[in-house]
Symmetry: C2
């Protein structure tokens, strides 16, 4: 299989048992996920940038949490309107967005 | 925050909207997740090895899927009884488990 250059993980508070509770879910994690999906699609990056929703990362007070691998960069309190900047700067520009990074 | 040395992602087919459908869920992804949780705990690796359940990785026919970052190593058709080997070889030994890797 083609592996991703970047893999973006977005907490949507999904529990392994299918329950959905928690902070990122109530704090727009699902909207952040949707925005990333749109941006990746609009930029034609679907083959090289993967996007996956996740369960809890354990730092709920900093949610919605977005993690970018293989860089191991963690973004906190991400709003849907931050997604374009993460795409421009980090995913397309290779520069970490300092104001959001943990 | 302390970032992980290894971050293990296990597909449990959790949808962003809280639904849980798909192959990894029906094919023991949840049991694989539980086994990793036990192994990480028993080995005292909780501070350096993170474990997160995810939604679909898009290769359902190869599920349950486990992805290890920052290595960008993808394991396919992982059974609960494979988890100890991934922990021994990859997470503690630094060697990819070739028979399971994509």
């Amino acid at each position: 299989m083609q592996k991703p250059n970047y893999h973006i993980f977005v907490c949507t508070s999904s529990r392994p048992n299918g329950q959905q509770k928690g902070f990122c879910h109530t704090k727009a994690g699902v909207d952040v996920m949707a925005r990333f999906m749109e941006e990746i699609d609009e930029r034609g990056l679907g083959g090289e940038v993967f996007l996956t929703n996740t369960g809890c990362f354990g730092i709920c007070e900093k949610g919605p949490v977005v993690v970018v691998y293989p860089d191991n960069v963690w973004y906190a309190s991400v709003a849907p309107e931050d997604v374009g900047e993460i795409m421009d700067e980090h995913i397309e520009g290779g520069r970490v967005v300092g104001r959001l990074a943990l």
